[in-house]
Symmetry: C2
Subunit: 203 residues, 2 copies
């Protein structure tokens, strides 16, 4: 996408245009290659021009992170078995993270996304946990633990450019099985404790 403007003509950037170009650059050359200067070059502007549309590089990455979560399929909190719903939600998150594997190191560094999409998924998770008998402080704990497991498993499954030297014979299926297994362990444990507390309501 070369720059076809005459000298002096406006570039006509926008927040959305910068984000789209960043995603393209990310997909083609990875997180390492996503620099303000490379992004500006791709858009045909000088590096500092980007600061008319984004606050900082960190802000840009945060927006990219939350945007990615828009693709996660959240189950209807009402109709399904809540534990199966949780499994499906986390599995969809895991899959979306793997599709955008170049972003996983950024998720780690930022400890997850924190935009509107992340908030929406968090609310669905809390609703499902409540229906599974996990309430109060336990729910927040379970939420965090499930998120940590999902992002962590995605990071393990990702040959990140930060760690090109780690040998591994594991296939994508192995990693997926490992993620599912861990998720099952967690949900089993969460459920066992929730049912135990039902019998001891005053404790």
């Amino acid at each position: 996408m070369p720059d076809r403007r005459q000298p002096g003509q406006r570039a006509g950037l926008s927040h959305a245009a910068v984000l789209a170009a960043a995603r393209q650059l990310l997909a083609e050359r990875g997180l390492e290659a996503l620099s303000m200067r490379a992004l500006a070059a791709r858009l045909g502007v000088s590096p500092n021009a980007l600061y008319s549309h984004i606050e900082s590089k960190t802000g840009l990455v945060d927006d990219l992170l939350d945007d990615t979560l828009a693709a996660v399929k959240a189950p209807d909190p009402d109709v399904e078995d809540p534990l199966e719903g949780l499994h499906a939600l986390m599995a969809s998150t895991y899959e979306v993270l793997l599709v955008h594997a170049e972003l996983v190191p950024a998720y780690l560094a930022r400890q997850g996304a924190r935009g509107p999409n992340a908030r929406r998924l968090g609310e669905v998770m809390l609703a499902l946990l409540q229906r599974a008998g996990v309430t109060g402080p336990d729910a927040r704990e379970a939420l965090h633990v499930l998120i940590v497991h999902t992002i962590g498993a995605a990071a393990f499954a990702t040959r990140s450019p930060l760690t090109p030297d780690i040998p591994s014979r594991a296939t994508e299926e192995d990693h997926r099985a490992e993620f599912d297994r861990g998720l099952q362990w967690l949900l089993t444990g969460i459920n066992a404790f929730a049912r135990h507390e039902e019998r001891l309501p005053s404790r």
Copy 2:
């Protein structure tokens, strides 16, 4: 520690001296401040002099990472209840990570340490898992899931310099409780599945 050499005199660096200075810099000013140039300045040498003693910055951080794990208290694999032993080992790892909180982002980026200390802890974990009835591929899965949970929980508990803008009312005790709870959930789930498979040996 100012540099007290006459011009032309050798600096007398070593791998160990570079590592020690790096740890000091890290403790005083955090991971962001750990640059080759700042490290060289502290040691009174030019930046490129460091490359006579370390392979790269990544290698230096890896050595730092594994060194830190030397402080983890591994239980004797034979004497204890294996599930309690696993809990104790992961808890000790969590505590050591929090003491060196500046390193946690590096653990995330490198997906854990991979030196001799990490290997030693991994072997103890596998032995304990085996005694808890988790063997074969399940054991590797459980190992990874437990490590992901521990490093992830430590990252959540760490106000990293990478994410200074995230507000949180949670105290250190809250995070510790969350880590312990998640660990209990995991071990409960792992144990439940292991006992289930005992009854179905051919499946």
